[in-house]
């Protein structure tokens, strides 16, 4: 009897481990589904689900279905580290898609580095994140600002005023604006760095008028800072001074800003819903079928969509979802026909080579695309971060800011 019991236990155990061996491929997701950042997090998570649905509907990866373990980080940093550890220690994931703010990325990057699991960060950001496990599908500040500043100096003139949030996204972006201004014969005539809680922009608007710029590079972060655009327009300055931005629209600010203030604002990003190509048409159709068309799709959502598909392409190429093989495949120059045009994962910097679009706000809370810069490389990241030559690099490169 006892022997019988033991053998049945062994049989059961081996059956369980056998089923574990044939388990679905698991990926993890941590996004801000509640709290102040869910303006981005909900769409990022929706994009992840949509991408996995589309892959699973086509028969999955290597004949297996992909399962996702999702966490809501509630716009809190402590939740990120907690769930990142849980997903590594308990869930047995093959890849992680997570994070919006740079602080969240920096909090969890070491965890996936130690666990050697590919980690995809999908948001526009200040640039410079570099280690072997981290893959960035959003555009970096230098990648977006180079075409934007070049375009704006040609369009408006050489005198530039910078209005930026007072933390590393703002100060690093300001560095790039200074650098690209110099390269293109422009001149920064004034800078103002603002706390995220500022609601009254009268002082900034006076300083702008005092400096007499041809255009303002405005990088408002959060709802309060979009008030700047209203106040700028209401002061009657929009007709004489251009406004360009590398993050306007990334959180659907064009929906919040009134048509009078939003018309004519220039934004540059890796994706706008108005991009015209077959992949985007299909993507938008799938998205609206599942989530409706109440809110426009933000670039962060497409960054996640691209991350999932780039990872899936790497799994197909490696013939395995094992992290080490996938990371090697990701460094082989994977390309993907994305909603924002063809994108390529740069083998050395783990950043995405992608189109940068320049769009003009219309009078109906939307955009029209005025210029496309094709296949823009993440130049700064490629220059600083060569993970093929130095796989042990684990850095966050920042340019010398003044």
């Amino acid at each position: 009897m006892k022997k019988h019991l033991t053998s049945s236990v062994i049989a059961l155990a081996s059956a369980m481990s056998a089923s574990a061996a044939f388990a679905e491929i698991k990926v993890g997701a941590i996004f801000d589904l509640t709290g102040g950042l869910n303006i981005y997090g909900i769409q990022q998570d929706n994009a992840l689900d949509l991408a996995l649905d589309s892959i699973n509907a086509d028969g999955g990866l290597l004949g297996e279905q992909i399962e996702v373990v999702s966490y809501d980080s509630q716009s809190e940093l402590s939740k990120y580290t907690q769930y990142a550890n849980t997903s590594v220690l308990r869930d047995g994931i093959s890849a992680m898609f997570a994070g919006l703010t740079s602080s969240s990325r920096e909090a969890i990057r070491p965890i996936f580095r130690r666990a050697n699991i590919p980690y995809f960060y999908s948001s526009l950001y200040e640039g410079g994140a570099c280690d072997r496990q981290t893959f960035v599908t959003g555009s970096s500040a230098s990648q977006q600002l180079q075409p934007l500043i070049e375009w704006a100096i040609e369009e408006y003139g050489p005198r530039i005023y910078i209005m930026a949030p007072d933390y590393n996204f703002g100060t690093i972006s300001a560095h790039w604006i200074n650098e690209y201004a110099e390269q293109n014969g422009g001149e920064v005539v004034g800078e103002d760095f603002l706390a995220l809680t500022v609601t009254d922009y009268a002082p900034t608007i006076q300083k702008i008028q005092q400096a007499r710029p041809d255009f303002v590079v405005a990088l408002p972060v959060g709802a309060n800072q979009t008030g700047f655009l209203e106040q700028f327009a209401a002061a009657g300055l929009k007709d004489s001074i251009g406004v360009v931005s590398s993050n306007y629209g990334s959180g659907n600010q064009q929906v919040v800003v009134s048509p009078e203030a939003g018309e004519g604002l220039i934004a540059s990003q890796g994706y706008f819903m108005q991009v015209d190509n077959p992949a985007n048409a299909e993507f938008v159709e799938m998205w609206t079928a599942k989530y409706g068309d109440d809110t426009p799709i933000v670039s962060g959502a497409v960054d996640v969509w691209n991350a999932v598909h780039v990872w899936a392409a790497a799994v197909e190429e490696a013939g395995s979802a094992k992290p080490e093989a996938v990371i090697a495949a990701l460094e082989s120059g994977i390309t993907f026909e994305a909603p924002n045009g063809t994108v390529t994962m740069e083998p050395s910097s783990h950043h995405l080579r992608q189109n940068i679009y320049i769009a003009r706000g219309d009078d109906n809370h939307g955009f029209e695309i005025v210029e496309t810069f094709e296949d823009v490389a993440p130049t700064y990241e490629n220059e600083m971060c060569d993970l093929v030559a130095n796989p042990d690099l684990a850095e966050h490169f920042t340019p010398e800011t003044n």
Binding site: T204, Q231, A235, L237, N252, V257, S258
Partner: protein, 288 residues
């Protein structure tokens, strides 16, 4: 320094101070007359803004949406007072904790009802020119609004029967009850008035500060500090404090940077609280 720049700095600093005062008065009334610090004040502001926005989107002219916002926030304020605040009188820290919790609930409710992005209504595209400088007209109008609000609250508290009852019930509750004032009902009304003033602020500032679930956070800290620095003579104290701190911060920001403006605000607040731990009006002989 050119004269026109100086004039615009002065005018816009006055409007900054007025905006701070508009956002603060409701808090000052509740704190001054009830000894309750309402940390959900910012969320009442947010409710006022969303009410005005919703009503405007339904086709009602913006100016008429303001009284609707006041009515809605007063009603919610009255309910909150009856259900929560009235059970916690005399327990300052408990009311702070309760109203803070309430603010989180209101915030998340707003996210659920309105989502994270809703269209703003924009500012009237009217501006005035002084020399080489343009100033948006609507923020300047706030100077008048703040003065009117101050006058209204002052008259309400000193000239109306309700105002006398409200002050009687807080200064000498037993005596007030003895002569037949139902102090609990008066308190409900006072809290509702405070919330209504917050709702008014949210609605009237809507063109300047777009309605978002988190808009309360931007106001509540500075409003709270203004009331604390003002001290026991809340109304006059708050007006002077808002003018000094808000206006000063704005002037500093104009000549230096916005960060220095904020540093000015918080540094002077700390300095004043060090010099006057009970608020600047602790030794004044006025009552309001």
């Amino acid at each position: 320094m050119e004269l026109d720049f100086l004039a615009t700095v002065l005018l816009s600093s006055l409007s900054s101070a007025s905006i701070l005062l508009i956002a603060t008065i409701g808090l000052a009334v509740v704190f001054g007359l009830m000894g309750v610090i309402n940390l959900a004040h910012g969320e009442f502001l947010m409710i006022g803004a969303y009410t005005a926005l919703t009503v405007t989107q339904a086709g009602v002219p913006y100016i008429l949406s303001i009284p609707v916002a006041v009515a809605v926030t007063m009603a919610i304020g009255a309910i909150v007072e009856i259900l929560i605040i009235s059970r916690l009188y005399g327990r300052l820290f408990d009311t702070m904790l309760a109203t803070w919790g309430l603010s989180i609930v209101f915030y998340q409710l707003a996210v659920l009802i309105f989502g994270t992005v809703t269209p703003g209504i924009g500012m009237p595209q009217y501006n005035i020119t002084i020399g080489d400088y343009n100033l948006a007209g609507y923020p300047l109008l706030m100077i008048v609004v703040a003065a009117a609000m101050l006058f209204f609250v002052f008259a309400l508290m000193t000239k109306s029967v309700y105002g006398m009852k409200a002050r009687a019930s807080i200064q000498m509750p037993q005596m007030a009850q003895a002569i037949g004032i139902e102090s609990s009902r008066v308190n409900t009304l006072t809290f509702a008035v405070g919330c209504g003033l917050a709702g008014f602020a949210g609605a009237v500032l809507l063109p300047i500060v777009p309605a978002t679930p988190s808009m309360g956070f931007a106001f509540v800290i500075k409003a709270f500090l203004t009331v604390v620095v003002a001290g026991p003579v809340t109304l006059t104290g708050s007006a002077i404090t808002a003018l000094g701190l808000g206006g000063g911060a704005s002037v500093t920001a104009s000549f230096m940077t916005s960060v220095v403006g904020d540093v000015f605000f918080f540094l002077i607040t700390a300095l004043l609280l060090w010099l006057y731990p009970m608020g600047i009006s602790a030794k004044w002989r006025r009552k309001l």
